[in-house]
Amino acid sequence: MHPVLEKFKEIFISVIPIVAIVLLLHFTIAPLEQVVLAKFLIGALFILLGMPIFLIGVDISITPIGERISSSLLSISRLWKILLGGLVIGFLVTVAEPDLHILGRQVTEVTAGGINSGLLVMLVSMGVGLLVAVALVRVLKIIPLNKLMTIIYIIIFILAFFSDSEFLAIAFDAAGSTTGSISVPFLLALSVGASNLTRSKGNEETDSFGMLGIASTGAIIAVLLQGAFSNTGLTGTLDLDASVGENAFASVLSQVVTVSFESFLSLAPVLVLFFVVNFLRLKESKKTIRTIIIGTVYTYVGLVLFLTGVNGGFIDASRQVGFQLASLEMEWVLVLMGVVFGIVTIPAEPSVHVLTNQIENETAGAIKGNTVLVALSLGVGLAVGLSMLRILIPGLQLWHILLPGMILVIFLSYFISDIFVGIAYDSGGVAAGTMTATFLLPYAQGAAEYMPNANVVTDGFGVIAIVALIPLLTVELLGFIYKLTIRRQNKKAAKQIQTIGESDL
């Protein structure tokens, strides 16, 4: 079978579980409105078509662009130019991210105008740009990732201390929204390209990962700073637009225009950067440029189909499921289904496939993509379960989960191999992606809508924060298991080699 068809098959297997579970719930305990169910199924079809096309496109356009730009950048011999380049790249890629603009508008709403959305977008983009530059310096100066993240997390703790606790949720939400479908493969490729150019004795591909994790913290710091200086609280409410329409297909398609425009915006900086760098330094052949342009078309078409599907079909369905399950007033069902949804949603996230593919490429297949996927899925499942608990238990606040979680993350990072530290931090950035925003978050919001004690806004914002954190822990745990297993394998091998050596005598 041609690899293209294999890709379609792989995505089909990844997406079917969500569809199956929603259908199962519909026919049993959480029936959906006919229109909503129809929209969901149509949305699923769009995803099944769009995601493989998007992933194929990313592989032949975005990834090569990112790798070429970073190797160009890192071959400049002036540090300040590299930093400036990193800043510009991080800024451009973030400012064009549609999810960030949506978040900005939501924040203005919930702070009743206290925080200006335009300013938020600018600050977050600058924060990410700055941290992308820091990430590049880390590669050049071979600074271990666990030490760098310890310092960054300490800064975040200090800032969080001076902020309203709800702002922490918005800060993490901003981090989640900056790592979108285009910026993830681009920043990953930037990281891999930088690592390839600076490989040296004792410093193998350990630097290939970590940039997403570092860049995300830029968004967190930017929002916390803004929150600390603004002195506003979350006073407003959030209007969850309930779309009503009789024709399911038309309703899904109505997203196309917005999505097409937003996808174009998020792709544009990457393309512009490539052509500028190509003109100035790369001077690639016509065939390579042609391949990249065609790949960009696939990326664009695939992304539009995918986003139309999730925005048009999944949000309403999952919100209704959340509401229906909450209305059963069986709390364990709500939490259990949250866990299940968390587990089955992650394989449908395009960014996750990009990350697992890169992991296999960088380790010659020694770390299997599917193994990391399982750890990620379990992590997100746990995260959604915890989020539902937070909605159900009024006393459980966000920082009760985030603070120990972050401390544990830093602690574990000193006990696993460097490459797993990078993979873990990147996993956090990848997990809180489009599927989390369009399926897991609405599920929590739907449940919160039913509950009298829950606040859709604060509880909603916290979901992304927890989803961005817990998978970090499960992947680190995987890294720890790997380390133990390899140690055991090596001991056994050493004994065998010794035995063979002795028998030669």
Binding site: H2, P3, V4, E6, I56, I60, S71, S77, L79, I82, L140, K141, I142, N196, L197, T198, R199, S200, K201, G202, E204, E205, E284, S285, K287, T288, R290, T291, I294, G295, E360, N361, T363, A364, G365, A366, K368, T371, I481, Y482, L484, T485, I486, R488, Q489, N490, K492, A493, A494, I497, I500, G501
Partner: protein, 340 residues
Amino acid sequence: MINYSELSSHDDTYCILGIIVNRGQGKKIFQFARRIGFSKANCLLGEGRSSRSNRILEFLALDEVDKEVILLGVKSQQGQEMLSKLEKEFNFDKPNKGIAFMMPVSYPGTLDREYVPESPYVNVMIILNENVADDFGNFVQEHGFSGLTMIKARGAASIIHPLMGIQVESAKVVAMMIVPRSKMEHLIYLVSQRFNLATENTGVLAVQPISRLVGIVQDEKDDLSMNPSAPEPIIKQMVVALVPHGSAEEYLHNVKKLGVSGSTIIHSRLANLSPNSEGLLPIGIDAEEDMVITLASHELASKIRHELSRQTFENQVEKPYAFSFPVIRTEGIRAEGFGE
């Protein structure tokens, strides 16, 4: 790979059984290998261009395909049987299913200064800088060659990074093409001209014989004649050393005093085919390895192997060893100065 205990026998001829399939199909090959008794296999990841130059795929920019290259060390007799079984089980006779081939090794084994051709095919291996990889791929496609596999690698001849102030390894690519002998000179000529192999330090080309091959697309115009009574001189050895990942530099440092320079390092893995009964995970964890390729004279190759047999590395899962491929043709200025 070859069990350590088998290396002590010098009566048999050995070969490396190579299998190249699309990424993702490797699992099935591993299952097959496990069934016939292998517990480990070496695996590299590469990228290829479709072996049938399909115009439609090229137009749609879908002609680049991710590949897996699996290597197993076998005795030649065993290799023949395995190749036939592979061909049947995986339908290598059909296009785009993959290829499998046997490459004779000089060590372990008895191949010395001459090789008697056993098949009309050869493996042309070209090591180039990574920044010309795309160019190279386009170039061979334009000239009608198919079945190219490119593997990322690092060059050990390092450069000082202007900002890091330390030696970094250059990014390389190892290109492999299995072509009929009749096309070999033409390919060498084209590549040398295009990439200035003879005059600039842009790359190295080395040709190894193939003793058997299944799965290649036969072009009717190909001349598949060969003269078994005309043995070819083996002019060099391609020494391939397998060391734990991260130990390549240590190994090269130790063999530097023998006169070795300009090696190429490929990141590979030693696939654990047996299920992990002891670990905490239900899957086997593969050990990462560095495959260090050095072009050397016969004497130097022997010294390198001897030196390696005395070394032990941290985290090794098997005793490191090197095997040598006979090389019947080289090109490139760096290929010349490797000791005589």
